[in-house]
Symmetry: C2
Subunit: 324 residues, 2 copies
């Protein structure tokens, strides 16, 4: 299938074309850029929702429940399940994921599991590109779910418009872990397994942590702390409502455009950084690069002077701070 064809077929609603594009993105195929450039013009309509939280918090089951609830509301749903710690991709990574299969028969639901093949930055970029393809294909809500809540996962869900952080009762010291890195990205907190003892206390602790976060004061949106039971479905309609409300708030406050601008900025910088790497490779080549690195490790060169020289050679102006 020729490159322009597959993009057109995806845009026309062809599900197999979409699956093919996602595979091309995952494989980092050379034609991907051209397809994505074409698809970009047709995106911007989907609501992109990130789900993160400790492994074992019941995220997969909750996402499945939410997807069902959203189907009832006649939304088309994309689910991208991302596991940065696993090198396997394309299939059902977790046992939990298998439960998603009951949704997979629905033509209005697209589910894909992805894992890390190369760098973490690469996985975040792949996730963003798959999101772009699903967006262009007309999915109303795209859920990006991560397996854990580590550095890589935070990076991945940060690109979403609404970030849901899932906690469970009685995390104890784990609340401290949430504080580092996760607290500031949460738009909605969910205490799942809310039938367990301690759910109210965990919710109260989260509320307190949020109130201590001074940056929150700048925002109009008050992060809700919802209680759910993914097994019974309790609290899931309220979560769907909260997501819809968050999207409205993002639109009304201009945050949606602002976040979109930030993401485009970092994406363009990442693309330019790629061009820089390609240029270094083409101009300097791996042998000389290694020689320069070794000389710097051995202290016969320093990194600043070397970087200035390289910048000049690849066509970037020398930095302004070189010695006169």
């Amino acid at each position: 299938m020729a490159t322009p064809d597959i993009a057109e077929r995806l845009l026309a609603g062809d599900r197999r074309a979409l699956a093919r594009v996602v595979t091309l993105i995952e494989n980092n195929a050379p034609e991907t850029r051209q397809i994505l450039a074409r698809l970009h013009a047709h995106g911007g309509r989907a609501h992109i929702v990130g789900f993160t939280g400790s492994p074992g918090a019941g995220k997969s089951t909750l996402v499945m429940r939410l997807a069902r609830e959203l189907r009832r509301r006649d939304q088309r749903i994309g689910v991208i399940a991302v596991d940065p710690s696993s090198p396997f991709t394309g299939g059902a990574i977790l046992g939990d994921r298998i439960r998603m299969q009951e949704l997979a028969g629905d033509p209005q639901v697209f589910i894909r599991s992805m894992a890390s093949r190369g760098s973490l930055g690469g996985l975040a970029a792949t996730t963003r590109d798959v999101t772009r393809a699903l967006d262009a294909a007309g999915y109303d809500i795209i859920i990006v779910e991560t397996v854990g809540a580590g550095q890589a996962e935070v990076e991945i869900v940060r690109a979403a418009q609404s970030v849901v952080v899932v906690a469970v009762p009685g995390m104890g010291d784990d609340i401290q872990a949430i504080k580092a890195g996760i607290l500031e990205i949460a738009d909605i907190f969910v205490v799942n397994k809310a039938d367990r003892p301690g759910a109210d206390q965990t919710a109260a602790e989260l509320r307190m942590l949020l109130s201590l976060d001074e940056h929150r004061g700048e925002h109009v949106w008050r992060v809700p702390i919802l209680k759910t039971n993914a097994h019974t479905g309790e609290g899931v309609p309220a979560l769907a409502d909260a997501l819809a409300e968050h999207l409205i708030s993002l639109r009304e406050t201009g945050q949606l455009a602002a976040r979109g601008g930030q993401q485009v900025r970092s994406e363009m910088l990442a693309l330019l950084h790629q061009a820089l790497l390609a240029r270094i490779e083409a101009t300097i080549g791996p042998e000389e690069w290694d020689r320069l690195v070794t000389a710097t490790v051995e202290r016969s060169r320093d990194p600043y002077t070397t970087a200035d020289e390289l910048a000049r050679r690849i066509g970037l102006a020398p930095s302004a701070t070189t010695p006169p």
Copy 2:
């Protein structure tokens, strides 16, 4: 004091010159690059040790004890205490830090607290540069201690040659948090507050987590799990021994040079990325950049084509994957 002078005075052992250089680095002063380029040639002798772990694990007290033990072994010690979550710098950030003051009177000990002024990447770079200054000034062991164990902290200690991860008994679910991101960077685990119940169990859990980490198989070094009591000093001499052994292992296996090479590589790429940003700013300017971002958010442009055009304009070759 002229720029070359201050570098020479630092190299001659002038403590005030060192303090001045550290301040220049923190302020991102323009003359810093020239000074660091000069100092680089005189580095490479210090053993750089990173300390991370949850807040409340007793890291500061442990670092103070370790510094005392190393002083007994006639080592000159630098301590850089880094708090990425705080905007304050230069003073004693934490109550614990005050206890360090008893060491601060020792001319063979240099202590500095640093906090985040700008970006996290900026703080990691500042920490690396301060380490470089202390290294050139002849400190034998430079301890980089972070307040917490979040994304930013991992980034900062990753640049050390030996990374100590400090845990406490009875962390429960927190062990899961350690798994994400922290496990793979640990060269030495310390279970501090080992007088508390559960110390042996926590050590056993860590041992199990380590045994599950398949990447560990590639390394010769078997990560020791030590028990300490920072208040009594118990276990601290064993920690000092383990650090010395790790350095020997790094040297013998060629890992020291390999890690050094990786760090130089990423530092040179970061410097080139800075040159790229400066070039974008000079060639394209903030207004046009914002206009391009807005057009991309509004979908009248796509990021790939825009990045290709920009790469061409700033002198980087167009990417090879543009459409024919």
